[in-house]
């Protein structure tokens, strides 16, 4: 992907991180405070000039207004400014770029850094400037490389061109993610293909962050430089430590749909039914978290739970003979396809949330028919969180070219909007919580899961997740590879673009052929 490495970054003229604590006294050279400066080949005196002047003015204005500066506009450039403690970030771009985009880009950039490296102060204590400079450069180039001007301005996610993809494949991807979520240690996941989103359960913010590492590894040019990269089961699986803010974590762990039921049914269930209730992974996580020993036992029991699911899954996919891909899909699907039938056999009696989902399921099936029924279906197993709703929303959206968007997707939008605001609100203050990113690569396809840190030490869970998804991923990869002719190299003139602010995705309709 040459575009990622292109030095001609759209809009961004300068970026720097300046550490004011290094330059306190009269004799201190400004260069001591420059932690990172882009473009790196800028002469040192110019770097010093820009950093010194902008930092000085920002400080002075902050004092005058008793509030930190957000934007510094010059005649030919504009800078978004962020300050935290002694650190000052500035992202410069040409005046044509909307101010709000520049500010957002800078926020994303800082968030990205914190996501992979933890707090800025600590990472600069632990690592050399050179190492971190490489990362800044990498994040910067990643963020700048929107596939179009509009992508860049709206800083939206790069998705696969859903119009070319069989909706069933997208559904399949969603189902893989849900299957992985059966393991209580797995929070959320997403599937990427050649640096583009196929399906995600995460908020756009989080997806964007997760994609950086993936595209970096996808780019063979970049050597993997994560400090905590550890490959466990073979070369295709890797993991790195990432840091979530408290609000992000809370958002992941909260399951709005579920809450209501939990509240007025049985708030204090004993742990034994939970162990068998494998489908409700998200709601289970907090409790397993608090009891690591218990978590272990949960995983072991999980293995058992998969097999009934397997057998049951056939039922749902077989009544779909119209798709000629179904046969090929079938084997991988079976391994993990989470089904209402399978689930009901386990815990129908004890779980009210299941009752709810069963109810909806039935309704959906009867009313809308096959594809929407599947959607509803996934609802059931997706552990009814907002996270799941997301994915459903995506499904709905992507299918909307062919089918009408169901009620589901609308619900999903609402949920995700919540998540966005929650995630951005307090990225400054909240302490960062280390988490682990688990990546399973099958050629161009990558399954990315956000997991609890002790997932790695839990060999059983890991193997289970690995094996359960392996076949499905292989199948998906094979299909996507044939369908998607690589990333579109040439810009086709478009006449219609749709920005979905909830999912932060951009859809283009290319009608250029109509003119001929």
């Amino acid at each position: 992907m040459a575009e990622l490495l292109s030095p001609d970054l759209r809009g961004c003229t300068y970026f720097f991180l300046y550490d004011g604590s290094k330059v306190k006294e009269e004799g201190d050279a400004t260069r001591e405070g420059i932690c990172y400066f882009y473009p790196e080949e800028t002469p040192m005196d110019k770097q010093e000039l820009l950093c010194g002047q902008l930092a000085g003015v920002a400080r002075c204005v902050s004092e005058l207004s008793s509030s930190s500066v957000r934007v510094l506009r010059l005649r030919r450039n504009k800078y978004a400014i962020r300050r935290k403690d002694d650190f000052l970030w500035a992202l410069g771009s040409s005046v044509d770029v909307p101010t709000i985009s520049v500010c957002e880009l800078l926020d994303q950039l800082i968030d990205l850094f914190c996501f992979y490296n933890g707090s800025v102060r600590q990472s600069y204590q632990r690592n050399s400037r050179e190492v971190l400079a490489m990362r800044w450069a990498q994040y910067l180039s990643h963020l700048q490389a929107g596939s179009s001007e509009l992508h860049h301005i709206f800083s939206c996610l790069k998705t696969i061109d859903a119009t070319n993809v069989d909706p069933l494949l997208l559904l399949k991807a969603a189902l893989i993610l849900q299957a992985c979520q059966r393991c209580p240690l797995v929070l959320v996941g997403c599937i990427l293909f050649r640096g583009r989103v196929v399906s995600t359960q995460m908020s756009p913010n989080l997806t964007m962050k997760v994609m950086v590492h993936e595209s970096e590894t996808y780019n063979k040019a970049h050597k993997p430089n994560g400090p905590s990269t550890s490959s466990s089961s073979g070369g295709t699986v890797s993991s790195i430590t990432v840091f979530l803010t408290m609000s992000e974590l809370q958002y992941l762990q909260s399951t709005p749909v579920d809450k209501g039921f939990k509240f007025h049914s049985t708030p204090h269930k004993d742990t034994i039914p939970k162990k068998t209730r494998l489908s409700r992974t998200l709601s289970d996580t907090p409790s397993t978290d608090s009891e690591p020993s218990d978590a272990g036992s949960t995983h072991s029991s999980q293995k058992v739970s998969f097999s009934p699911c397997l057998s049951a899954s056939d039922n749902v996919f077989s009544p779909d003979p119209s798709e000629n891909t179904t046969d090929l899909l079938h084997p991988p699907m079976q391994s993990q396809c989470p089904l209402s039938n399978g689930k009901s056999s386990h815990d129908a009696e004890e779980d009210e949330s299941f009752y709810h989902s069963f109810h909806t399921n039935g309704g959906g099936m009867s009313q809308i028919g096959d594809s929407s029924g599947l959607e509803e279906n996934s609802h059931l197993n997706g552990a009814c969180g907002t996270v799941f709703d997301f994915r459903a929303a995506e499904c709905g959206n992507e299918e909307s070219h062919d089918h009408k968007v169901g009620e589901d997707s609308r619900r999903g939008s609402g949920g995700s909007a919540h998540g966005c605001s929650g995630a951005t609100n307090s990225h400054n203050e909240s302490p960062l919580v280390p988490m682990t990113l688990y990546l399973h690569r099958v050629k161009g396809l990558v399954l990315v899961l956000l997991v609890e840190p002790h997932f790695l030490s839990d060999t059983a869970s890991m193997e289970e997740v690995y094996h359960s998804s392996l076949a499905a991923l292989n199948g998906l990869e094979a299909h996507l590879r044939t369908i998607i002719p690589g990333p579109p190299g040439v810009q086709v003139p478009y006449v219609f673009a749709h920005f979905d602010c909830t999912q932060s995705t951009m859809t283009f309709s290319h009608f250029s052929l109509l003119f001929y």
Partner: protein
């Protein structure tokens, strides 16, 4: 929380204006432990200390990057706008959300315009302007700054309340008969009488106009006068309003009642040589205090100790206005401005040409010549040899010699100035000649550039000496005698005596929407003729006491705020090259059109308007005449045709179908400029 600051390149504060909140904040930051008597310098010091890093950084950026700051925004939405004119850096700050970046930029440009009108070509030399804006004498400085501050406040107040200053065009009282009578009166009786009097001391009345509040009742220019450009006229209205503020907020049929309460404040408060004229029969000092709210008053009080007795009130204000003659365009030509109050709210303004104004024209010619020379020298450095200028240089030299020689004996007062300049210029000539000979030597060229600059400064110095410095008491009368002024005043007063009350009411409700029954659903409109700089709009009465068609207080206030924001929106689009804006907002439907017509009123085809950069001067007529540029731009493709430019802005009820709205707009536009409705100047 507002502030406007002018600083020199050496971070010296040349002027500052702050509202009480800002001042308080600064003082809080500094602990405010100063003694009573030292409050003013202490505040000035603290503000310059606080802003110094910004100013210095701005200058460093220009020097080393060739780029300068345009604006800062903070998280609590404080906005700082910076703009550099030559060596003067203007900084405008807003921290209360009432003004946006555009408003602040406009304020800066308006401030610059007012300084230009007050100081003329002295503004062309940063060095001289610095000294002029910041006199060494603290009393003088305090007086000057207070004058500028009150001008700025007057402007801000009018802009927030007056539609004419919102769109920056002159609003006329729509009363054709009276208007005609007045013009005739000004022409036949007043100006003729004044110009034939021996007491005029060589001055010649060029323009005379009567203002009712901010609206123009009648305007007369003598035959040999050039037209007064809109930006100058608007500035003069601000100045007149500043001298004799009208109670805009107070829609009071009996002003005496309200005024009695306000009369208490310090006498001579606004008297900066322009206060209540002493010899005037009508003592109209009361409305002077209308603007002063208690907070400002408190801040101003600190200056009271420094107040000196004001100069003779019959002394006119020196203003510098653009003059276009057959020979060409001369900006900033000296005039005297006599502002004679007739009644509270009604003012007669006389503009006279001073006898020595020919000197100003010569100075301008030489300044231009040197500026061209400097430019040529600079270009020469870049390799595009320009020896073609040689004859001009010789020409210039001999002419300038003659000019300086003539200047010396002709005017005793200028003696000092001319000797000064002679001393300075004399040693320069040999160098000049050498440079002439070695025209290709870069080094000489290089050394000539600062010399050119020096010459320009010297010329500005002469100009300053001639037109800005008060020559002090002398036997020779230098302006219209107080008696003559008084006579003019009484003359007009007699003429308008019966109309006085009518005019005051009329100015409040110039035209109302009732006059437009053919346009159902139309709530409000503003129509501007940009070629003459005039506008028509129904009045927006927002006070409780007056009920207009728009209803009382809050409703009218709401419409007003809508209109104000709409004008800002349309300007933003105009800047981006859009000449039409339609916008549905709640229950309203807004339309804006800009179009061109030829002299006969035939609508010309639309063209793509130029797209202006973000930091271009604000669109309007007061500080920078955007529309003049626009007409020139348009007429490039319409050679030999007089291009007129109009703007129409309407507010309709949202339920009106858009076809009807468009039809209304068309009809309105044609109706408004019918000659019978609105006699031209």
């Amino acid at each position: 929380m507002k502030c406007l600051l002018i600083a020199s390149e050496s971070a010296e504060v040349l002027f500052n204006w702050t509202d009480p909140e800002f001042q308080q904040k600064i003082q809080e930051q500094y602990g405010a432990s100063q003694e009573e008597g030292q409050r003013l310098p202490a505040f000035e010091d603290s503000i310059s200390t606080l802003f110094a890093p910004i100013i210095i950084s701005c200058i460093t950026m220009v020097d080393r990057l060739g780029d300068s700051y345009a604006s800062f925004t903070t998280e609590n939405n404080h906005i700082y706008v910076l703009h550099q004119f030559d060596e003067c850096l203007y900084i405008a700050v807003n921290g209360d959300g009432e003004e946006g970046e555009d408003d602040l930029r406009r304020k800066i440009y308006v401030m610059k315009k007012m300084i230009e009108v007050l100081f003329g070509m002295v503004t062309l030399s940063s060095n001289l302007l610095r000294r002029e804006l910041r006199p060494q004498d603290t009393e003088q400085r305090a007086r000057l700054w207070k004058h500028l501050q009150s001008l700025l406040e007057t402007y801000s107040h009018i802009r927030e309340n007056d539609q004419s200053f919102l769109v920056e065009a002159v609003e006329r009282l729509i009363h054709p008969t009276l208007c005609e009578q007045c013009i005739e009166f000004l022409e036949r009786r007043l100006v003729q009488q004044l110009n034939s009097s021996i007491e005029r001391a060589g001055e010649e009345v060029m323009h005379a106009f009567i203002l009712v509040h901010t609206k123009l009742l009648a305007f007369y220019s003598s035959r040999n006068a050039s037209t007064l450009v809109t930006s100058d006229l608007l500035t003069l209205i601000i100045m007149a309003q500043n001298m004799y503020p009208s109670c805009i907020d107070l829609d009071d049929p009996s002003p005496e009642v309200g005024d009695a309460k306000r009369k208490a404040p310090v006498p001579g408060f606004f008297n900066l040589g322009v206060g209540t004229p002493r010899g005037v029969p009508f003592k109209c000092s009361s409305p002077v205090f209308e603007f002063v709210d208690p907070d400002i008053q408190m801040a101003e009080d600190s200056l009271q100790t420094l107040e000196v007795p004001p100069p003779d009130p019959s002394t006119p204000r020196r203003v510098f206005l653009e003059v276009s003659l057959k020979e060409g365009l001369y900006p900033m030509m000296p005039h005297s401005m006599y502002c004679l109050p007739l009644w509270p709210g009604i003012t007669l303004v006389l503009l006279t040409k001073i006898p020595t104004s020919a000197v100003a024209m010569s100075v301008y010619t030489y300044l231009e010549a040197f500026a061209k020379l400097e430019k040529r020298l600079r270009e020469g450095q870049e390799g595009s040899a320009a020896t073609r200028g040689q004859p001009t240089i010789h020409d210039l030299r001999s002419k300038l010699d003659k000019f300086i020689k003539a200047l010396g004996p002709s005017d005793i007062q200028e003696d000092q100035a001319s000797t000064e300049s002679k001393c300075a210029t004399a040693p320069c000539w040999p160098q000049y000649v050498i440079a002439d000979l070695l025209n290709n030597e870069f080094s000489f060229r290089f050394s000539l550039i600062p010399w050119c600059k020096n010459m320009k400064t010297q010329l500005c110095g002469i100009y300053r000496q001639c037109f800005l410095i008060d020559p002090g008491p002398s036997d020779v009368p230098r302006h219209l005698s107080p008696g003559l002024q008084e006579r003019a005043q009484t003359l007009v007063q007699e003429k308008l005596m019966d109309w006085k009350d009518f005019l005051l009411v009329k100015s409040r409700r110039n035209i109302t929407m009732v006059s437009y029954p053919d346009f159902p659903g139309l709530i409000h409109f503003i129509c501007v003729d940009r070629s003459t700089g005039q506008m028509i709009a129904p009045s927006l009465n927002i006070t409780e006491r007056n009920t207009s068609e728009l209803g009382k207080g809050p409703v009218a206030q709401f419409i007003k705020s809508k209109v104000w924001s709409l004008v800002n929106t349309t300007r933003r689009y105009l800047q981006k090259g859009y000449s039409t804006v339609t916008l549905r907002d709640g229950d309203f439907y807004f339309c804006y059109f800009l179009w061109f017509e030829n002299e006969t009123g035939y609508k010309l085809e639309a063209v793509d308007l130029p797209i202006l950069p973000d930091d271009s001067p604000p669109i309007g007529m007061l500080s920078w005449d955007y529309y003049r540029k626009l007409r020139r731009y348009y007429s490039k493709n319409h050679q030999g045709e007089v291009v007129k430019c109009y703007e129409l802005l309407t507010v309709h009820l949202g339920v009106i179908p858009s076809e009807i709205i468009l039809q209304h707009c068309r009809q309105l536009a044609s109706k408004l400029w019918e000659p019978s409705r609105n006699p031209l100047l």
